[in-house]
Amino acid sequence: MKQYSVDVAVIGGGSAGLAAAIVVKKAELNVLIIERDKELGGITLQCIHNGFGLHEFKEELTGPEYVQRFINQAKELEIPAKLDTMVIEFTPDKTIYAVNKEEGLIEIKTKAIILAMGCREKTRGAINIPGFRPAGIYTAGQAQRFVNIEGYLPGRTFVILGSGDIGMIMARRLTWEGCQVKAVVEIQPYVSGLIRNEVQCLEDYGIPLITSYTITKIHGKERLKGVTISKVDRNFDRVIGSDKFIECDTLLLSVGLIPENELTREAGAEISQMGGPVVDNNLETKIDGIFACGNVLQVHDLVDLVTAEAKRAGLNAIEYIKERYSKKIGKKDQIKCIPGENVNYIKPDLINRADLSKNIIFTFRVKRPDRRLLIQLKDEKNKIVYKRKRRYVIPSEMIEIKLNLSEQQIDPESNTLEVEVIPRPEVLIEDD
């Protein structure tokens, strides 16, 4: 068995892993990227549309162009990467086991690990669509790989379930390939991806977006022949008599993404409700010295935000090695962040009391769209420590707040911090 020893190992060589590794390498620490695919770049490689880099580079790039900049930088910095290598286990003492064709089983001893494994797509089973199980049903990302990487078409006439970003982008992509996209069907009363994608990918091509509908039956014994869509009521129950049949040979699912944390779970790190590991304000999981960033932590809207988060994880890993690793300083007293009214989840899950004087970045999503709101942070005694107005919120847009909690005069004894998104009181008064 080959054995290696590095300061920091980064699991996943996509946009998150590359950015984190570059930061670590620049601090002159010994870093290694482990990537399961044949090349670096991750899922961004198959996102050949534009719209990347507006935050990070202040210019508009395609996915491969964006990630290539990081690949080039990693090459210049001579960051070693093990490609075509699958991590099969990592342990709480930060030893990684991986396999590849050339070296067999590899053992990598590390001081810190950065998790950057990304996410995977929800499937038909996860949403339990009844009907037959013919060929011709794919997740949107899988179809994207077939078309953009392998150069094959998975079908001719499409229905797309779910208005997630990949689904809408594939609707446009397939239209360009001469395919017919008959409809994008969304169970919610609103689009679930970014508004700009709704405009640029659907409206511009006349592809109908059918909201408050879902697929209630799959037809076709061998290859897909069509789907039945039905209107749903507020509780997502089917409205009797609203069924419509749409003929198609392919169904794409764009019904959500789940962080890919099987290894994290097996290593014993606590996983939160949304599928990402529980982290503190340093993006450190419940296991000392194991950090998480990018879509393995939480599903992001834009790759630029992934990059920013990954850089923070990299910096925190450096700090961990320099400040805490040798002294074996474990985690201290922590404050728990709680999602309150209309908040689906919040990251970080925990704040180290010792870090209260630092700037902390909170990211969260709302459960449902709303307008004219107040974002509030409350401590354990319901004292409001922070509030900010916001014109509108939608679940597809992640909200980010940067805060110094001691400046906000949080009660230093408070054990919790609750985030809520509530209607602005003045609106209530006006309405009354």
């Binding site: 590849n100 995977r120 499937t123 998975p154």
Partner: protein, 489 residues
């Protein structure tokens, strides 16, 4: 060539008969209409090896089930398919059901089912199965009940049969049978086969095959059962859990699988279309509600797949295993539950019938009953794994990350006797696509490997045979065709 025996149907019944006959000096072949074996009723089956108390004493299936259960121990050793006796509970939720459990126990013990006991000690029950509902008042515990993977069993049987010389023809649907001068001529779309004896193990289509020879004395009704499968590690059960049975079925069970998943189902719905394996909203709700009666906190959100299978229900409600009026034609039909449990006993019975027909049964000198255990990445220690990858690098390329399946296991599945030739064939043999991502990540890679190993173009790789293409063509071909005014199909 004239075969001594031709078996129609490549489900667990047909393949088991094939394997049992492979012991003898006989020319035997098996015809299967689908692209893969184990593609019908066998594929969507609970996989429960019943203890045998459930069927009525008036039916032969009760006795074949009790016998078949016992035969599993040796078979699992020889054939190396996943099998485990984990025991089952029939769960009584009301006091007045206890009497029924006692009755079943008494009759079961009389008929030779070992270890049956009625447990009323709630504490003990919960200790044995902590997930069980608090409403439980008693259970019938059958320690000899177990789980087998029905399709992996069938692949093992077919592999072993093929190793011992049985010929398998897939994609061979029987359309007509002629009987003349004690020779049967079977017509398929792919050519004709001649044989002296036919074993009809055509499952849902058995009555139709039987009628090809004018034998119209039974009918087979499809009865659908729907299932929901849950992700691994979400909740794990120790026991197979049955409700109190009804007239039509053993009810909706909650059951672990040998791969660490859990499923609920099946319901029982009589239908007319023999290919209708669709699931329904009402059905999925029914089984989830049913399952929740036994395990109240089933995490519905963690389901990874729903599916349905069809039982071949004969109008006699019992197995039909007959030497028919047409000399040399044996029906093995209506093998519904507990058909999987009884399968080894059924195969033995068929051999007895062949003997009655005067077929000479001389054991082959080189008969080998052992089907070697398929090598699995997951079974290796770290040291073994390292050695394996040094020997063959294909062990080091992981194709399916949910189930940790390397390229080598897929190659082995393709090149095994009666190996996989479709994406589903690979999936059922070595599990890429069975996990929580349901093939989202590995499918393009599985297609690539199938294409390379079978030397077939990418677009000709199918999900499960004819008309189930996964890809329709190269990206630009279609555009160019449309621009030239070609048909857009």
């Amino acid at each position: 060539m004239i075969y001594d025996v031709i078996i129609i149907g490549g489900g667990v019944t047909g393949c088991n008969i094939a394997r049992t006959l492979s012991k003898y000096n006989l020319k035997v072949c098996l015809l299967e209409k689908e692209a893969e074996i184990a593609a019908g009723t066998t594929k969507a089956n609970s996989g429960v090896i019943h203890a045998g108390y459930a069927s009525s004493r008036e039916y032969i299936k009760r006795y074949l089930c009790i016998k078949g259960n016992k035969l599993y121990t040796q078979a699992a050793e020889e054939l190396n398919f996943p099998f485990k006796r984990i025991g089952s509970f029939v769960v009584a939720l009301e006091d007045n059901q206890i009497k029924q459990l006692e009755e079943e126990r008494k009759k079961g013990i009389e008929d030779g089912i070992p270890g049956l006991e009625v447990i009323l000690d709630k504490k003990k029950i919960k200790q044995m199965e902590p997930n069980l509902t608090d409403e439980v008042v008693g259970v019938l515990h059958a320690p000899t009940a177990g789980l087998a993977s029905p399709y992996e069993l069938t692949f093992a049987l077919a592999e072993n049969a093929a190793m011992n010389g049985i010929k398998f023809f897939r994609n061979h649907e029987v359309v007509k049978i002629k009987h003349q001068d004690y020779i049967f001529t079977i017509r398929t779309y792919e050519g004709e086969f001649q044989g002296r004896n036919i074993i009809n193990a055509a499952g849902l289509h058995a009555a139709r095959v039987s009628r090809m020879l004018g034998l119209d004395y039974f009918s087979i009704m499809p009865r659908k059962g729907e299932y929901i499968l849950f992700d691994r590690n979400v909740f794990q059960l120790n026991k197979i859990l049955f409700p109190i049975p009804t007239k039509v079925s053993k009810g909706i069970l909650v059951c672990p699988t040998l791969h660490g998943n859990t499923f609920v189902g099946p319901n029982a719905q009589n239908i007319t279309d023999r290919e209708d394996i669709s699931t329904t909203t009402a059905g999925l709700k029914e089984i989830l509600d049913g399952g929740m009666k036994l395990i109240p906190n089933i995490p519905a959100r963690s389901s990874i797949r729903n599916f349905a299978g069809l039982r071949a229900v004969p109008d006699t409600y019992d197995f039909i295993i007959d030497n028919t009026d047409v000399y040399g034609f044996i029906n093995v039909a209506g093998i519904l539950s507990p058909g999987l449990t009884a399968t080894f006993a059924i195969a033995e019975k068929v051999v007895e019938f062949l003997e009655l027909l005067g077929v000479e049964l001389n054991v082959k000198e080189d008969y080998n009953p052992i089907r070697p255990k398929p090598e699995r990445f997951k079974d290796f220690t770290k040291k073994e794994l390292d050695k394996k990858i040094q020997e063959d690098p294909a062990w080091g390329r992981i194709i399916c990350r949910c189930e940790t399946i390397p390229e080598k296991e897929i190659i082995n599945a393709i090149h095994a006797p009666v190996g996989a030739n479709t994406v589903d064939g690979v999936k059922f043999r070595c599990r890429p696509g069975m996990g929580r991502c349901q093939g989202g990540f590995c499918r393009p890679r599985v297609i690539e490997i199938l294409s390379r190993e079978l030397n077939k173009p990418y677009v000709e790789i199918t999900k499960r045979g004819e008309d189930t293409n996964i890809l329709v063509g190269k990206t630009k071909d279609f555009m160019l065709k449309s621009e030239r005014g070609g048909a857009s199909e």
